[in-house]
Amino acid sequence: MKPYDLPDARGHFGQYGGTFVAETLIQALDDLKAQYAKYQHDPEFRREFENELKHFVGRPSPVYHAKRWSDLLGGAQIYFKREDLNHTGAHKINNCIGQALLAKRLGKPRVIAETGAGQHGVATATIAARYGLECVVYMGSEDVKRQAQNVYRMKLLGATVVPVESGSKTLKDALNEALRDWVTNVDNTFYIIGTVAGPHPYPMLVRDFQAIIGQECIAQMPEQAGRQPDAVIACVGGGSNAMGIFYPYIPYENTRLIGVEAAGEGLETGKHSASLTKGVPGVLHGNRTYLLQDENGQIIETHSVSAGLDYPGVGPEHAYLKDIGRAEYVGITDDEALKTFHDCCRIEGIIPALESAHAISYATKLAPTMSKDKVLLVNLSGRGDKDMHTVSMKSGLSFYCHPECELGRHAAASPNAEQIIKLVKG
């Protein structure tokens, strides 16, 4: 394989990526490109980044042999990269630190972010608190309702959460609104994008900051498993945890790279978020990539039990890796992911994020088809604390609900629901 050196100077990964934004954002992106080029290899910047990862995040995260589960399945050995053990509970913090350090060097006192489930919002709010930056997080109003706990976490950390009422009121609309904020406040604001999407240079710089995941694995796997894995498996929504673990493995030709998309209620039902499997190339949020869209080029609503995978696009580098055949992309349904979620709790004593459960689920399908000396490495990208509500609802269980919450629940069924909820909240 010839050396992999993408994106090109204009941010293209083959026909994907690029800078598809209004003129109003070009200068800000040019500034960011220039600053990143300046600090990317700057020893002082690298030292500060690595120091934060070590002492604030708790890196390196371990590689763990899921031995009991591997034995039960009777095939390949499954290893987990434990990003769930990071501070804030997921891989998102790696990228937020990198971008916040750039914001500091650019002299921007205000950071903004988009968030779906709230994980990137929480990570951004966390690092903004640590560096004393003003933080505004855009979140679709539907997601605000579904992820109340993360909204509260962000508020505790001092961030302002702005519910977005436009479009489908979910992640893609939060991203639109964050871009609108950035256009308006470009002089004092740094936009911390949470995934390997958006206009150049975001897909590149988010990948570079997340690549620490794969770099650590390359050092840890020989020690833990005696060699590099036969396959690396990661879930793909926008694709940042997957790019982070895939990227350092691209030159390792004997290692398969497998991205797992959310097949939702089934790929044939249309209710899924499998952009790479079911989408067609188009332009959204500043880059050309695979998109879930209708025949008129309008972006369609997506579905997944896991809010973090619920996005109609995907990072452009994944689109490229799919087309050249270096990575393969498969789907796992809501039901399969939920079953794996419970299995992982019971068999390994680890409560995984629903996103990560998609990746683990595919590994548990693949392992029995392989011999016991084969090795699978799964990116366990986040922990499942945030998913308690979703999983308990899906399991038909009712959580303990304090009296005000009970009142709110009854109120929600009555005609004056909004008013009653306001009264309860005081």
């Binding site: 109003t24 609309d173 332009v283």
Partner: protein, 266 residues
């Protein structure tokens, strides 16, 4: 063949007049209102009509145009239907230039060359794709120019001199200067600042310079018209049409624009 946009601006220049360019979203407030509104705007003194092609994710637009796009899409508006509207308009109006303004994805879904062919056949004169900046628009611009359609580009307060020069080399028809840092329909613009920026752009760019984003009434239109070759008004007109009785959308829009025309010509 001489593009209608060039013909229009030449005539305006010899009469020492500023072009008035209204923007409406195709299909809003109703699918049926757009064609009569286009005729009413032309009659009220529109020199060019910008017809918005609605998109599900209008990231450069403020709330008024966002809602307008959502309503139009909910009623079933599409790029194909916008092109059919233009063809229908051309049956009764062979003079007023039509510029389509929208986002890349509906065009990419149709196929860029297929779109250019269909747009030229329908009687479109210019195309402004908000998320095709010059660095991503080389081949698309060439396709447009080959069919005598003008690629129209945005310039921003933050655009460097090098970028203004680059846009100047690619632009046909006119350039659209975004008068403030923000989205369409945003707050108050600083006329003195706009004047100095527009003067700097005019010194570099060989085509007329229009100004838009934040022009909401006759007074701002007149102030900006004093320094620009064209004044673009969108959100305020879209809101006025939305507030009109459903049977009087075209008349209300036309009457509103006529007042701006009078102010601009004073």
């Amino acid at each position: 063949m001489m593009n209608r946009i060039n013909t229009t601006f030449s005539a305006l220049k010899s009469n020492n007049k500023t072009a008035l360019i209204p923007f409406i979203t195709a299909g809003d407030p109703t699918l049926e209102s757009t064609l009569p509104t286009m005729h009413a705007l032309a009659k009220a003194g529109a020199d060019v009509i910008e017809l918005g092609v609605p998109f599900s994710d209008p990231m450069a637009d403020g709330p008024v145009i966002q809602r307008s796009s959502e309503r139009a899409l909910a009623k079933g508006m599409s790029l194909k239907k916008v092109l059919a509207l233009v063809a229908e308009f051309r049956k009764d109006n062979a003079i007023t230039p039509i510029v389509l303004m929208g986002y890349a994805n509906p065009i990419e879904a149709m196929g860029r060359q297929a779109f250019v062919t269909a747009a030229a056949d329908a009687g479109v004169d210019g195309v402004l794709v908000v998320d095709y900046p010059p660095e991503e628009a080389d081949d698309f611009s060439a396709m447009l120019i080959a069919r005598d359609l003008a690629p129209i580009f945005l310039l921003a307060p933050t655009s460097s001199t090098e970028r203004v020069q680059a846009v100047g080399r690619l632009a046909r028809g006119y350039v659209y200067y975004v008068s403030l840092r923000g989205v369409t329909g945003a707050g108050n613009l600083d006329v003195a600042d706009v004047a100095s920026k527009v003067a700097a752009i005019k010194a570099i760019v060989p085509v007329p310079v229009g100004v838009g984003f934040g022009i909401r009434d006759a007074a701002t239109a007149r102030a900006v018209g004093a320094v620009a070759d064209a004044v673009v008004i969108g959100s305020a007109l879209v809101q006025t049409m939305l507030d009109a009785p459903p049977t009087q959308v075209a008349e209300t829009g036309g009457a509103w624009l006529a007042k701006i025309r009078v102010a601009l010509d004073q």
